[in-house]
Symmetry: C2
Subunit: 330 residues, 2 copies
């Protein structure tokens, strides 16, 4: 039997927990430890036997870990941790600040090249699986347009914005793709659509006792950047209902390529990639875990530096051999 892939998890929030669950689903992998900035005894992992260590101890485990999965946030954690840990470990992360990807790629690439390690950056579903479809379908159907829709799912940033409104006790915001826009594209139209034309914003708000609900609704709907440009719906609900019905983290979305071929571009083709996820962090974690396998195999083959979903052949994601894949799945 081949040796198992030894995984370290850095950061134990929803995604970190999802990676622990995903590693448990993959027989060729095992969890070495969770590394945290918190007091290790305060972290409750899924498996009682899982080792939890303080992040400062991570370098002691350099020889025991084949790949680190970085589960911190893109705002402050990853810009520091990505290049730092790529200097000593193979890494996978879900860096998702689209505008800063080129800069982040360069800093991780430099560190990983120096250390001879391999790092897959910006892994997940967007960036990630959605990017693969956008890229691949543009190459296949150069005459055409890409559309990305997000939702229905919770936006953390917009939920936070609601909760800052005066008189709001609690709240959550769902980004919802506009059905009529999707249908136009599915029919083969290629309209120019802004993000606000493709999405509406559904808010569930718990008002403080005696608060002016009309005022809250107006404040939310007119909030610049977050809501003003969108069709926004505000529902007032009880705190009880919020906790009961809105505690999950569903998400999803679509990438649609509408493209043309033919002597006069008269043949239309619609290609769609869609996700309906009951747990956004657990699905993202499952993508990270599959790419962790790829990173270890690529490093063993001598491929070093930073890589993205565009650079990694799909077969590296699977525990199966190339022969098995060709026989069973091609």
């Amino acid at each position: 039997m081949t040796k198992k892939i030894r995984v370290g998890i850095v950061g134990y929030g929803n995604v970190g927990r999802g990676v622990e669950l995903s590693v448990l689903q993959n027989d060729d992998m095992e969890l070495v430890a969770v590394f945290t900035r918190r007091k290790p005894e305060n972290v409750r992992t899924v498996a009682e036997s899982a080792r939890v260590l303080h992040i400062d101890d991570i370098y002691k485990y350099k020889e025991e870990i084949d790949v680190l999965i970085l589960c911190g946030g893109s705002a402050t954690d990853l810009p520091e941790q990505g290049p730092k840990f790529a200097g000593s470990f193979n890494c996978v992360d879900s860096f998702d600040t689209h505008a800063k990807i080129p800069e982040y790629f360069n800093s991780v690439n430099e560190a990983a090249k120096l250390s001879g390690k391999t790092a897959a950056i910006s892994i997940g579903w967007d960036p990630g699986l959605f990017s693969m479809n956008r890229m691949m379908l543009e190459a296949i159907l150069p005459e055409g347009k890409n559309y990305t829709f997000w939702g229905e799912g919770v936006s953390q940033g917009h939920s936070d914005a609601i909760r800052r409104v005066k008189g709001v006790k609690n709240g959550i915001q769902y980004t919802v793709p506009v059905e009529s826009a999707i249908n136009r594209i599915r029919k083969g139209e290629q309209p120019d659509l802004t993000t606000s034309e493709k999405h509406l914003r559904k808010c569930f708000v718990v008002a403080e006792e005696g608060a002016n609900k009309m005022e809250i609704e107006e404040t939310i709907k007119n909030m610049p950047n977050y809501f003003a440009d969108y069709d926004t719906v505000v529902h007032f609900i009880s705190e009880e209902e919020l906790l009961k019905n809105h505690g999950k983290m569903p998400h999803g979305g679509f990438v649609i390529r509408s493209g043309n071929t033919g002597e006069h571009n008269e043949k239309r083709h619609i290609v769609e990639f869609s996700l309906k996820l009951e747990s956004n962090p657990e699905f993202t974690a499952s993508v990270l875990t599959a790419y962790a396998r790829a990173v270890v195999k690529l490093n063993q083959e001598g491929k070093t530096g930073a890589l993205t979903v565009f650079d990694i052949p799909l077969r590296y994601l699977s525990p199966k051999s190339p022969e098995e894949l060709r026989k069973e799945l091609l």
Copy 2:
């Protein structure tokens, strides 16, 4: 400016014509010649200026061609042409006899390794894009099931079977995915479904004058392998209607992965990749053309032998640089 990728087309049926059209859409490519077994003067290409040559002359153009796109059939053309031409050219083909892929891969691989050429085999949408999704999604969500649906689209084999029935003048068969089966899967059920439970067969038949239509319908519906196991609908139409409404080659289908995560596998995720194609051969040709670009670049980097969609990093399909791809599409 970089030199254009010089493409040769082998075989000029619907797919070959689609490749010619696709090359015209890609500024970094140019068509060197179409090679045919027919009399070259009998082949009418899209561009009047396109060079058409007899297949026997192909080796004279060895130095002028960067990649051959083989547009013959999987039954008899490709098993012979694939290994033969991989002995002298970089090649791309759409070999689609699933059961014989391992054997075909080995024979092309051996030839291409010997010649130092690169050959992408079984390229298209199934095998091809559908295989990529089946493989990738199984690796990401190991607990779950894959479903592949084909259609609505024309099946050549089943259309031929209809036309062999006594009293049938002409006919066409559409494979249609069963909506209720798709909906069960989309809802998160993971039923075991046979091909016949997932598809129904819709036949449009032109009867000869005086033929017994009831007998024709019964014969079709009871034909073993082709129709007996399926819900089959037979519509009798006039030859005029057949020519007017059934002359196109639409196709499509879905790959759906229904998978689970969570401590008790309680979170369901549905991932779907779907195609709605107005021209099956032109879309297939567009996939072949994008992979032709990949094959040339991989060969320049020293990667030789046979490859499938599982082996080729997506970025090779695009004319854009890795930097552009990360900036624009990740």
